[in-house]
């Protein structure tokens, strides 16, 4: 299993850089991953999405879809694309220390 160092924290990640052990996640790790994903900084709107995803994952052990984030009123799809340009579900999940969303088979 590859290891990556963010600041002074060492974390286990999978082949695509997603954390494999959520207990290693910290806000500082999140900020470092965000920088790697090309985000300038994590603001309150980012954190709202990240925290919601973590809560959902804890409850259902599934990474929520964009549609789920939408329907829960966390952020519209348009806003998600502005917050996490490119691939909001994948980027936000990685920053939140969760698995890569299973874009169902």
């Amino acid at each position: 299993m590859p290891l990556r160092t963010y600041g002074n924290t060492m974390v286990d990640v999978d082949a695509e850089g997603y954390l494999t052990d959520f207990s290693q996640w910290t806000r500082a790790v999140a900020e470092a991953i965000a920088a790697e994903e090309g985000l300038a900084a994590l603001g309150p709107a980012h954190w709202k999405v990240i925290e919601f995803m973590q809560k959902e994952y804890k409850e259902n052990s599934q990474v929520p879809s964009i549609r789920r984030l939408n329907k829960s009123g966390v952020a519209s799809t348009k806003e998600l694309y502005e917050l996490f340009p490119g691939g909001p579900a994948k980027k936000a999940a990685r920053i939140a220390g969760l698995k890569k969303p299973e874009g169902c088979v």
């Binding site: 599934q62 549609r67 939408n70 329907k71 799809t77 299973e102 169902c104 088979v105």
Partner: protein
């Protein structure tokens, strides 16, 4: 008398009625199946209609003739399920009580989920996930003068995730046969990062798209469609122009699930992926496209689930613990055109891999590789579907849980 009620007489509902009517004593149990119409379509056949290989009449039979005897079949619109009082309420006000309920109401396309999609509906925008859509598309393709055909997946999950790829392959093959391939550009637009979700199959199928000069636009999430300008506009600002858009609109569960307050954001029923029991209600079970389990929405999955679900319902009735036996097994033929097809076999934990199926070395069917035998396998499957699958009979050599024998593991996981 106790009541087992099944909502939906598609693949899942019919096969469960077949299994359970055999296993539940007639003197103790009434089995009731409810559906809104009497037309059972062999859904894998929809793909063949736009190209004139099959007609509507070739793939439809009355649902009532496919259900076993001693099953009450009600043709009625379901208004909602009321788990608190264990009853299904019909639109006409009738109330159908149940001791155990099976939800098998499937998934359907919902074009209204994408702004603008309905503006060009059946004019320059077509689906092939309904009999009407597939027939309309057949007429359109016949008269298509040339230009850009965009094959588009709007949002995942969809029924039969490989069908849009097959559609693109068929387009290529038909155009080449008629010597018109140079007049048409084929573009494949998907919200996924590649041709398939899992890496080994994505690489194999992606290479085939390239070989057939089908351009892939990946990671594309459609915000809206401008039907008058004929283009799809993505959330990230990218635009894909088309002359003919063949789309798989967002797939959702039955509206009845939403009216019952039981669905997730896609109106799918939250279901335990291993036991197939509702996550919330002890006496409600589900299978097939209606569930939220992370398996393919495909007939083969329903078939594998049905054997496990039958055992689990009997266990629940006897007060025994359920068996968490469903492994997500799916098995799909992918048509390539020119009488060749690819076969894939996979489950929750194992992605589609190359090898031989169902027996190691002998096969006879090769996995993840185009072959004529796989194409004949797909054609034979229509017969197997009507005669064996729906009637709850075993399909020889194909167990409900996936086998690793015959599969070749990737030499190394990239990056690991």
């Amino acid at each position: 008398m106790r009541n087992l009620v099944i909502c939906g007489a598609g693949t899942g509902g019919t096969v469960m009625a077949s299994h359970l009517r055999k296993r539940l004593p007639r003197e103790d149990w009434a089995v009731t199946v409810i559906d809104r119409d009497d037309e059972h379509y062999y859904q894998p056949g929809f793909l063949f209609i736009p190209f004139g290989f099959l007609k509507r009449k070739d793939i439809v039979k009355p649902k009532s003739t496919l259900l076993p005897r001693d099953v009450a079949f009600l043709i009625a619109e379901i208004d909602r399920i009321v788990p608190a009082s264990n009853e299904v309420v019909l639109r006409d006000g009738r109330k159908i009580p149940y001791d155990y309920l099976i939800v098998a109401t499937g998934a359907e396309i919902v074009p209204s989920e994408t702004p603008g999609m309905e503006d060009g509906w059946r004019d320059t925008i077509f689906d092939f996930y309904t009999a009407d859509g597939a027939e309309a598309l057949a007429g359109k393709l016949k008269a298509f003068p040339g230009g850009t055909i965009v094959v588009h997946v709007n949002e995942t999950p969809i029924k039969c995730p490989v069908a849009p790829l097959e559609f693109a392959f068929f387009c290529d093959a038909c155009l080449r046969r008629h010597g018109k391939r140079d007049k048409v550009e084929i573009v494949y637009v998907t919200p996924l990062p590649g041709a398939f979700t899992k890496p080994v199959a994505a690489a194999a199928l992606g290479a085939l798209l390239e070989k057939k000069r089908i351009r892939m636009v990946a990671d594309f999430n459609a915000e809206r469609i401008d039907a008058s300008a004929r283009k799809i506009i993505g959330y990230d600002g990218r635009e894909v122009p088309y002359d003919l858009l063949v789309t798989v609109p967002t797939n959702m569960g039955a509206e009845m699930i939403e009216r019952s307050g039981m669905g997730d954001e896609f109106r799918f029923l939250p279901t335990d992926p291993r036991t197939l029991r509702s996550k919330k209600y002890e006496n409600i079970f589900a299978l097939g496209d209606a569930t939220d389990v992370p398996a393919s929405k495909a007939g083969s999955v329903v078939h594998f689930q049905s054997e496990i679900l039958t055992e689990n319902i009997l266990r629940a009735i006897d007060g025994r613990p359920l068996e968490p036996a469903f492994d997500g097994h799916a098995n799909c033929f992918i048509e390539m055109g020119r009488s060749k097809a690819i076969l894939i076999d996979f489950n929750y934990d194992t992605e589609p891999l190359p090898g031989r199926f169902p027996f190691p070395l002998f096969g006879p069917l090769p996995l993840l590789k185009p072959s004529r035998l796989n194409h004949w396998g797909k054609l034979a499957f229509r017969w197997i579907y009507w005669r064996l699958l729906l009637r709850g009979k075993r399909i020889p050599f194909i167990p409900s849980r996936m086998k690793m024998t015959g599969k070749k593991l990737p030499a190394a996981v990239p990056g690991a």
